[in-house]
Amino acid sequence: MQPGLQNLFDQFLIYMQSGGFVMWPLFVLVIVLWYALGYRFHAIKRGSQKSVRVLIRKFDSGKREVPRGLIDGAVVDALKIVNAGYRGTVGRELIEDAFYEYRQELKKYRKTVNTIVMVSPLIGLLGTVAGMIETFDSLGSMTLYSQGGGIAAGISQALFTTQLGLVVAVPGLVVGRLIDRHSKIMELELEQIKDIVCSEEEGK
């Protein structure tokens, strides 16, 4: 390993140690959280930015064929079913069936993100309580610095973990909410595609 990298790694280890035993779970949760957020961010790629009606017309007329995102794919699937001759209630059911995967994709990791955002401040609080216990124990024996803690280390741990818990939770909350809003909109758009495709076919 390069010396610079090694140095960085050492610093990271010191950082992790200063927060006590809650740091590693918190670290794992951060990684899972941002993986889940990244996945969700990737999953809500809409494809074209045009409205659902325009997309259906374009794909139907054959002007475009390759789907570029989730909504595009849904439109193509829906048109395939309708063009195969299924319409009315049966067509609706088939499209609903075909959309199941898209819906699952939109929902995936939603609960994970929410859970981690909920749990990480609690973990921070746990670290704070552990640090307070260390502090008060050390106050009892009047050791300012001891081999494994002491008043100073206890207080630092107490402050540090709450801070880190919030640092994990707040961005996760904000980004998660933004992605949630997008995915809700896209779920509505899937409904819209179903309605438009079926009603247009009936109207023809």
């Binding site: 209630t89 049966v90 059911e93 088939l94 609903e96 069936d97 199941y100 699952q104 609960k111 994970t112 929410n114 859970t115 909920m118 749990v119 609690l122 973990i123 609080l125 746990l126 309580v129 552990a130 307070m132 216990i133 008060f136 124990d137 106050l139 009892g140 024996s141 009047m142 001891s146 081999q147 494994g148």
Partner: protein, 437 residues
């Protein structure tokens, strides 16, 4: 008679005329005398005035010179007074300095005494004394900041005394090297040393005793040899729970119970979840190749939630669409009773555990304040011990709640996905069947 009278009158008249001239003469004489006297007096007066003026002038001159004299004298006296004051201050300062020097010398003497260095204090010649003090301190400092090996003894873990070499690193750490037991030493009170429970320091001690530089220095730095370092007893998990009291135990038992429920629920879900997709696929294949009756027979052989839902679906495939969907929903509802089992219990425990922890903390705080009312705030050990115990229950509550929240939510999501999968598979089956018709 008349004549007589006349004569008399004549006589009187002549008499009177005679006296008038005499009077005038006397007056003139008197006047001349008085005038001469007046002139003489005036002359004297002016003379006296002249003399007085001269005398006053000389007196004034004299007063002025005397005043000058007084002024000069006052100034001199002020200056002298100031000088006196300054000299007194100097004398005091010198006294103070002497006392300070004496105390410094005494302090030096007493601090050097434990190292076997005797300092003679010469009250006549403080500079020499101080010079000696500084010189011996400097050599002592050099000696103390080096690593040196001496013979001595230290105490082992079991309390027995062990003779061996003592490696002193300056005045801040000591290693003991003896047969069978070596390692870093810590103060045990009363200037004795004891072996610290750190087996990895044996190599450092051995290397230092042989005058080598060890690769890594395992060290225990102490402030003072006379202050005992207590063994830090590792708190075991049981000790922590024990210190939480009744409420600590309640939290732990609840947590274990909830963990059991989590395991059971995960077991149920993995049973139901893993079989949903294969069962749906097989059912579809059977239905396509053999027909409804054969599929029903096939499903009767299978067990599990997914198979039951499929069975209900296949049995009612020929009814009208809305009816079948209702039946599917009903079948899933029936299964969800099993899938959702223990879910809410786990979440309840996750919600209750931190509250119980809070309860324990408040109880502990009340106990602490009871102690304060009884013994006052003098001893920090009493207070901080109580507060630390009070916090333990909060810690336990959080330790129980956090994994339960994580696991409970994950299991809920899993159950949700399984139900969605079942519904989806059933609907897919209906759609495929309708396509076949």
């Amino acid at each position: 008679m008349k004549r007589i009278v006349l004569i008399l009158m004549m006589a009187v008249l002549s008499l009177s005329a005679a006296t008038e001239t005499e009077l005038q003469r006397a007056y003139a004489k008197e006047f001349a005398f008085l005038k001469a006297q007046k002139e003489m007096l005036e002359k004297r007066l002016s003379q006296v005035k002249k003399e007085d003026a001269a005398r006053i002038a000389t007196a004034k001159k004299e007063i002025a010179s005397l005043q000058n004299d007084v002024l000069v004298k006052t100034q001199t006296s002020d200056r002298l007074g100031e000088q006196l004051f300054r000299s007194q201050q100097n004398a005091e300062n010198i006294n103070d300095d002497t006392a300070l020097l004496e105390s410094v010398a005494l302090q030096g003497q007493s601090s050097l005494a434990p190292y076997g260095i005797k300092l003679a204090i010469n009250k006549e010649d403080y500079p020499a004394t101080l010079q000696q003090l500084f010189a011996s301190t400097l050599t002592l400092g050099r000696e103390l900041s080096s690593v040196r090996v001496t013979e001595g003894s230290f105490y082992l873990k079991d309390g027995s005394e062990q003779k061996g070499k003592l490696v002193k690193v300056g005045n801040i750490a000591t290693y003991g090297v003896a047969e069978g037991a070596s390692g870093v030493l810590v103060p045990a009170g009363g200037d004795k040393l004891k072996l610290w429970d750190a087996p990895e320091s044996a190599a450092t001690a051995a290397a230092l005793a042989q005058g080598q530089t060890p690769a890594s220095l395992e060290i225990f730095v102490y402030e003072n040899v006379s202050k005992e370092i207590e063994d830090k007893t590792e708190k075991s998990v049981m000790d922590v729970i024990e210190s939480g009291g009744m409420i600590g135990w309640v939290i732990i038992v609840l947590g274990l119970f909830a963990l059991l429920l989590v395991v059971l629920r995960a077991f149920f879900l993995s049973g139901a979840g893993s079989r949903t997709l294969p069962v749906a696929k097989e059912t579809l294949n059977e239905l396509k190749s053999k027909g409804v009756e054969a599929t029903l027979e096939f499903l009767k052989m299978k067990k599990g939630a997914a198979a039951r839902v499929m069975k209900a679906t296949v049995r009612n495939l020929d009814r009208d669409r809305e009816h079948v969907e209702d039946i599917v929903a009903e079948a899933i509802m029936h299964e969800s009773e099993r899938l959702d089992r223990y879910g809410s219990a786990i979440m309840v425990v996750a919600a209750v555990a931190p509250l119980l922890g809070l309860l324990g903390t408040v109880t502990g705080m009340i106990a602490t304040f009871d102690i304060i009312t009884e013994f006052g705030t003098g001893d920090p050990k009493l207070l901080s011990g109580g507060i630390s115990i009070a916090l333990v229950t909060t810690e336990l509550g959080l330790i129980v709640a956090i994994p339960l929240l994580l696991l409970g939510n994950m299991l809920n999501g899993w159950a949700e996905r399984i139900k969605d999968g079942m519904e989806q598979s059933a609907l897919h089956l209906i759609n495929e069947y309708n396509k076949l018709k």
